[in-house]
């Protein structure tokens, strides 16, 4: 009979929440450092949010002569032109700063195409005008906020307000940490980054709900257990599941880092990071926050819902 390998032995007793003095510090670090990074180093804003033109070309010459392309395009007077190798040696990415109007943007790309002529094959062209880029910024921000509020309402509805607050706090932690990663690695920050962040929010929350579910169950089961112990018990009980799930999701996304191509690389990096940071914050942010927020011990007892119930009173007495 095929029996699976038990990666995590049952009945582990790691005091995750017991060590909260240290992990609070780590979590604070993971939240504050990204903000400092974004403020000082900044984000590598893609054309989605900044406006501008992006052209991906494959040169007939292999490898591409970046210096020649640069000197040709700099002579056009289009403002800042960035040229970098992108993937294979004959693949080049050209980024042109946003022009004041949409019409000028169209003129600028026509100039570039005329200058480069037949020496290249155009693989991708993206032009984002100033109107769209400002809308995308607003839309992206609204989306993240709306998603968080929607999730908060759902968690509040299904659990208690303390759980909703803990969930949101840990999501803020995850989001800032992820944005920090974008800044640290100078990955291009664009619409698919927002998609990555929203997905991380969804995934991370999925994980928190699983642990909350167990905390709720244990609150019903062990009415006298100290809260710290109860939280640690819940986390330990779910440890095997957490490891297996996160490892599979991570394994599923990992190949996109290596084989997915340049177009999806940044997204894959963020997702892989998101799996790790989401797992971390479930254990070290969302759970210990219950201590601070003081979830009521009888919040989920059958008696708490309706009028005082004799059995509930008896247990507390």
């Amino acid at each position: 009979m095929f029996r699976g390998i038990t990666f995590i032995p049952p009945n582990t007793k790691i005091d995750f929440v017991g060590q909260r003095a240290i992990t609070w510090f780590v979590s604070a670090f993971l939240t504050i450092v990204p903000l400092v990074l974004v403020a000082t180093v900044g984000l590598n804003m893609g054309i989605d949010f900044q406006g501008g033109t992006l052209i991906e070309v494959k040169t007939k010459a292999n490898p591409a002569d970046l210096a020649e392309i640069r000197s040709k395009l700099n002579g056009l007077g289009l403002g800042e032109v960035q040229i970098q190798q992108f993937g294979a040696p004959d693949e080049v990415l050209i980024r042109i700063a946003s022009q004041p109007t949409e019409a000028e943007q169209q003129v600028s790309i026509a100039k570039v195409k005329k200058t480069l002529g037949d020496t290249v094959e155009y693989r991708r062209t993206e032009i984002v005008g100033p109107t769209i880029s400002s809308e995308l910024i607003a839309g992206g921000t609204v989306a993240v906020v709306v998603a968080m509020i929607g999730i908060m309402i759902y968690v509040w509805f299904r659990f208690e307000w303390q759980f909703a607050v803990a969930a949101i706090a840990s999501l803020v932690h995850d989001v800032t940490a992820t944005i920090g990663l974008y800044s640290l690695l100078q990955l291009e920050f664009n619409v698919s980054s927002i998609a990555a962040i929203l997905t991380i929010i969804g995934y991370s929350l999925n994980d928190k709900v699983v642990i909350f579910d167990r905390i709720r169950e244990n609150l019903r089961k062990y009415k006298r257990m100290p809260m710290v112990e109860l939280l640690d018990l819940s986390i330990n009980e779910m440890l095997s599941r957490a490891v297996l799930t996160h490892v599979t999701t991570f394994l599923a996304m990992l190949p996109f880092l290596f084989f997915g191509g340049e177009a999806i690389y940044g997204f894959a990096v963020a997702m892989c990071f998101g799996v790790v940071i989401g797992a971390y914050s479930s254990i070290f942010v969302a759970s210990p926050m219950q201590l601070i927020l003081g979830v009521r011990r009888d919040a989920f007892s059958p008696s708490a819902a309706g009028a005082k119930d004799r059995t509930g009173a008896a247990v507390r007495a």
């Binding site: 005008g129 998603a147 929203l198 929350l205 297996l244 599979t248 999701t249 599923a252 996304m253």
Partner: protein, 538 residues
């Protein structure tokens, strides 16, 4: 746990079977697919522009120009209305900033009459949704003792923009269709935008020129008494005339009478062709009956004089009228290349755009990059799937195998639903499928871990499996709903590739609830019944 009602079993089997049938066209070569009988599904998942290459162009209509044009029309209407009623007026002008036209009436005794007459210019507009009355397109007000102002209302402007967008979409559709590409999509987006998506197009520049050209064709007389060069130098345009340049380099100035003899609206057809004498590419056109009559009369009256064919305020050609053109057909020559003649014919045939359109977002992907993306996406997805399957088997043995089978069914179902609803698959969409694999597996991990706990608490294999499934269910639902909330927001926000990601993720999460819970449960139940194990291999 062991007993399933028969209808449930049939339903599950039916769904899985249907999934396979609907997903099948995606792996069958097109040649074989064509030979299959009609009653079998033939729909394949359509690939997004990032995978098959193509152009995504977002156009915005120029509000200002639209208002300006409209005010011009209103001014003309006011002039006509006052003249025909013999009302003297002065200071008739349009004011773009306040979106209005104002006029002063000379005789105090006629102000009331003028006001009543001008009020008739306001047209009631109907509400888009209910078709009911929702106000007038113009506000006609009296200003001071002798003034009347006609201002454009917001509702009027919106309905004007709406109809301009509708008309533009029709025009663009005719132009893109003539371009000869497969399945272009042209849709309105928001209040004043049009999204044009053309798969597989290679010459994007030509497509853009063809779509973006207004295509306003006018026939006007050249003023024989004016010296164009002098007028161009002094900028003193004689009254009733206008200065228009040709589309050549360098531009040649022409002084034209500003009255339009015949406009492009009177055209019923135009085709590219060749001049019978010179053999150079030309565009031939045909007027409708009224246009032909008017054109015939004008050419009859002006034999020997030049007239100009003006496209989008540029003179294309200005031939001399040798004889009256009574048949209603003619040709435009202007040193065209074959392609230019072809495109001009398309432009004239499709009619003019009601207002200028500006590209505010453009994303084009070449076919080779699309093919590369499919390859890399496929490779990454398959490797990811294999890793997950291997890991699940190592972690849970036989129960991992059940989960893996369910996983494969889930992937098949995702493709079936994608084919069925005609959704598009994008590169992020492929990543979405892989992420779903992770999420779907989580459901089985939750169930299996729960069963392990139940076994440890001393329950029998059957009871452990039973309560493992039932107790993990609420957790699975809760966790999936929260993920869905985030993903639905993504769907609402995103366009193109990102939306493709949200689509596959949403479908995948929903189908995974079925495969990871119902399907594996059935497998486990049948295995328990068949093997009657003393202990579970978990």
């Amino acid at each position: 746990m062991l007993q399933f009602q028969k209808w449930k079993l049939i339903l599950v089997f039916g769904v899985v079977l249907a999934g396979f049938i609907f997903a099948l066209p995606n792996v069958i070569p097109a040649s074989t697919l064509a030979k299959l009988p009609d009653w079998l599904p033939h729909d394949q998942v359509s690939l997004g522009l990032d995978l098959q290459g193509g152009a995504h162009l977002l156009y915005q209509i120029d509000d200002k120009e639209l208002v300006d044009d409209w005010l011009g029309t209103i001014r003309g209407d006011v002039r006509e209305r006052l003249r025909s009623n013999r009302i003297g007026y002065t200071g008739l002008q349009k004011n773009v900033a306040s979106r209005s036209v104002s006029v002063r009436i000379r005789e105090a005794s006629q102000v009331d009459k003028a006001y009543d007459e001008l009020k008739k210019l306001a047209v009631p507009i109907s509400n888009d949704v209910f078709g009911g009355f929702s106000g007038y397109d113009l506000d006609v007000e009296r200003k001071g003792s002798d003034g009347v102002t006609l201002s454009v209302t917001d509702a009027g402007l919106n309905s004007r923009i709406s109809s301009a967008i509708q008309a533009s979409i029709e025009t663009i559709r005719r132009r893109v269709d003539a371009f000869g590409t497969t399945e272009p999509s042209i849709q309105r987006q928001g209040r004043n935008r049009i999204l044009v998506q053309v798969p597989g197009v290679s010459d994007v520049q030509r497509l853009k020129t063809l779509i973006g050209e207004t295509g306003k064709l006018e026939f006007k007389l050249v003023d024989p008494n004016a010296n164009a060069a002098e007028v161009a130098a002094s900028k003193k345009v004689p009254p009733g005339d206008e200065l228009v340049y040709s589309d050549r380099k360098p531009p040649v100035p022409y002084v034209l009478k500003d009255q339009v003899l015949v406009s492009g609206e009177s055209l019923v057809d135009s085709q590219p062709g060749f001049d019978q004498r010179t053999g150079e590419p030309v565009v031939t056109f045909r007027f409708d009956a009224a246009g032909a009559r008017r054109f015939g009369r004008v050419t009859q009256d002006n034999v020997g004089l030049p007239f100009a064919i003006v496209l989008d305020n540029k003179v294309i050609t200005a031939p001399v009228i040798r004889e009256p053109i009574l048949g209603g057909t003619g040709q435009i020559s202007g040193n065209f290349s074959v392609q230019q003649a072809n495109d001009l014919a398309i432009l004239l045939r499709s009619g003019a755009l009601p207002a200028k359109l500006t590209v505010i977002e453009e994303r084009t992907v070449g076919a080779s990059l699309g093919a590369d993306s499919i390859e890399s996406g496929k490779k990454a997805a398959i490797v990811g799937l294999l890793l997950v399957v291997a890991f699940m088997f190592v972690g849970y043995g036989l129960f991992g195998l059940f989960a893996n089978l369910a996983l494969l069914i889930n992937v098949v179902l995702i493709f079936a639903v994608l084919s069925l609803i005609g959704a598009t698959l994008t590169l992020p969409g492929i990543a979405g499928i892989v992420l779903v694999i992770g999420i779907a597996v989580d459901a089985n991990v939750l169930i299996n871990e729960r069963i392990r706990e139940e076994i440890r608490s001393g329950k029998s294999p059957l009871a452990s499996a039973d309560s493992g499934y039932s107790r993990a269910l609420t957790t699975i639902i809760d966790s999936n709903v929260t993920t869905l909330i985030a993903v639905l927001v993504l769907f609402w926000l995103g366009s193109g590739p990102v939306r493709g990601f949200a689509v596959t993720l949403t479908i995948g999460i929903l189908t995974s609830m079925f495969t990871a819970v119902t399907v594996t449960r059935m497998m486990v139940a049948y295995w328990l019944r068949w093997a009657r194990p003393k202990s579970l291999p978990l």
